[in-house]
């Protein structure tokens, strides 16, 4: 549905997006992840025909964004960052204006506006002035606007930025409910969000795609993907020695917390050795008050992927 090949965008010599290629299949929800200034917004603006690319080829819904800009725009629902809206208009009035602008005609305007207000939970706010709505509601108006002409592709730039946790949850549920009906590309730097919503993640850094996979696989890519933390009452050195003998444990570090001993065992890829660690603890008769598995999350992957360049 979206095909990007060797996309490059330069702003006065500096490449904001540098030779980026990726694909999004029909019905997929893909997260576009990267630190600020990585080139997320630029890429999305090119996909939505707001900016031209300096090089490369971008096809959305089977059409080239540069050559068939109008066609592409008809098939794309784009929600820019910070959701710019005409603040002096009322919600229903604004959505009707946008629907007509995007080519919805006659009686359909009313039907579509009604539908998207229902989907986005805006029915009670239909007659309110947009400028007086809370940020969360404005975000919903932006999403309703992106949906109003029944596009095939949704491009959402930071859909949950600046919202409080409840509003984030709402918007997240909303986006999830759109899955499979639309092809969605959303950008975010909130990792948790991408992890929860998206089937696939593209990590972009300094204008280049550094990783592209499902959140689980990306996490799996990381070395030592399981860490077990435990607190026992024992001699630190002895405990360390015994735990190192457990098959699969690669490293043990620890320190005293009061009279307790806090240890962290790093395990090899794919091995879950919690039961064996527990057995070792019981065999030695150490009092135990905590044993937790700390799985690495997307945040660790993100940090690892996006700071590699800095270290070089």
């Amino acid at each position: 549905m979206i095909r990007v090949e060797h996309l490059t965008k330069r702003f006065g010599g500096r490449a904001a997006v540098d030779d980026v290629s990726f694909q999004v299949r029909s019905g997929e929800i893909v997260g576009f992840l990267g630190p600020n200034g990585a080139g997320k917004t630029t890429t999305m603006r090119i996909l939505s025909c707001f900016l031209p690319a300096s090089g490369g080829k971008v096809m959305v819904a089977g059409k080239d964004v540069f050559a068939h800009s109008m066609e592409v725009r008809r098939h794309v629902g784009y929600m820019p960052e910070n959701v710019p809206l005409y603040r002096d208009m009322r919600v229903a009035e604004y959505l009707a204006f946008r629907a007509r602008l995007k080519g919805v005609r006659g009686k359909n305007v009313r039907v579509r506006v009604g539908d998207v207000m229902q989907t986005c939970g805006l029915f009670d706010a239909r007659d309110r002035i947009i400028g007086q709505l809370s940020k969360g509601f404005q975000q919903r108006v932006g999403l309703a606007d992106a949906l109003v002409h029944e596009p095939e592709v949704l491009i959402l730039d930071e859909p949950s930025i600046g919202l409080d946790p409840n509003q984030i949850r709402h918007i997240r549920t909303l986006i999830k409910s759109l899955a499979h009906r639309y092809t969605v590309l959303l950008s975010s730097h909130i990792l948790h969000e991408v992890e929860m919503i998206c089937e696939r993640v593209l990590i972009i850094n300094e204008g280049r795609i550094v990783a592209s996979d499902t959140p689980d696989n990306l996490v799996g890519l990381m070395k030592g993907n399981l860490q077990v933390a435990l607190e026992i009452k024992a001699d630190l050195d002895a405990a360390r020695k015994h735990l190192m003998q457990v098959d699969g444990v690669t490293r043990v570090s620890g320190s005293y917390v009061g009279r307790w001993c806090r240890l962290r065992c790093e395990c090899g890829k794919g091995s879950d050795v919690r039961d064996q660690i527990a057995k070792t603890v019981f065999d030695n008769g150490w009092p135990l008050r905590e044993l937790t598995a700390q799985k690495q999350n997307l945040e660790d992957v993100f940090v690892a992927m996006t700071t590699e360049g800095e270290r070089e």
């Binding site: 800009s69 820019p80 809206l85």
Partner: protein, 243 residues
């Protein structure tokens, strides 16, 4: 065409949603009316017709008025980011520019028409006056329409070049003042011929038209100027998409 009308409709309705519109209307009607009154009093007994005085008083405030209308046209969209939503909808650049132009023009029409209509009320309540010379009013209205179109298209173009309203206002005001002041400014300098200045001066055209003599040359000049400025505006909007 359909998209132009949709944008025109929004522009016009949003003009009347903001309090600025009502302030501008009130101020314009008061100052233009006051200027007309002053002009009529100081020209008492002279040959100049009231129609000419009326149109000259309206035109006197035109640069301020047009600047107030046009400075926000695109600057506001750029500043708030709505240009991005507008330009990612399936609308052509021409439709956007024409919609905005027609919106501003209609707003100006709504405000200026009552100022012209004042003369009929005045005539109805003045026992000594036989009536209004509708030829003069027609001539004045025609030149009013073409000159204000040009001024609006200039303002529209300028508002596309910056995202700062103050910068837009200053540039727009200067550009619009140019045809009004050119004769006064240049007539004392030993450059150009008087006849050329005569052709360019809005002041001369206004007086001629308001006396009922409709000349096609200035009409062609203002209309082609408007078309050119709108063309430039479309190109300025398009420039964003140049590789």
């Amino acid at each position: 065409m359909r998209k132009t009308l949709i944008i025109w409709q929004r522009e016009l309705s949003s003009s009347f949603l903001s309090p600025i519109a009502y302030v501008v209307i009130a101020v314009f009607l008061v100052v233009a009316g006051w200027t007309f009154l002053e002009a009529a009093e100081s020209n008492a007994g002279s040959q100049e017709s009231l129609e000419v005085l009326l149109f000259v008083s309206i035109f006197f405030w035109m640069p301020f008025f047009v600047t107030a209308i046009t400075m926000r046209l695109f600057t506001e969209e750029k500043r708030s980011g709505t240009l991005e939503t507008l330009m990612t909808a399936p609308v052509s650049d021409l439709a956007v520019v024409m919609g905005k132009f027609l919106g501003a023009f209609s707003f100006l029409f709504v405000v200026v028409a009552p100022a012209v209509g004042v003369i009929y009320i005045l005539a109805a309540f003045s026992p000594g006056v036989e009536g209004v010379d509708s030829g003069n009013i027609l001539g004045g209205s025609v030149i009013l329409v073409v000159i204000s179109s040009l001024c609006i298209s200039i303002g529209l173009f300028v508002s596309l070049l910056t995202r700062n309203q103050i910068v837009a206002a200053i540039c727009c005001f200067t550009a619009i003042c140019f045809p009004f002041l050119i004769r006064t400014a240049v007539s004392n300098l030993p450059v150009g011929s008087d006849q050329m200045l005569e052709y360019l001066s809005a002041e001369t055209h206004i007086v001629d038209f308001a006396r009922g003599s409709i000349d096609t040359r200035p009409l062609v000049m203002y209309v082609s100027g408007t078309v050119f400025m709108l063309f430039a505006a479309v190109k300025a909007l398009e420039a964003r998409r140049w590789r």
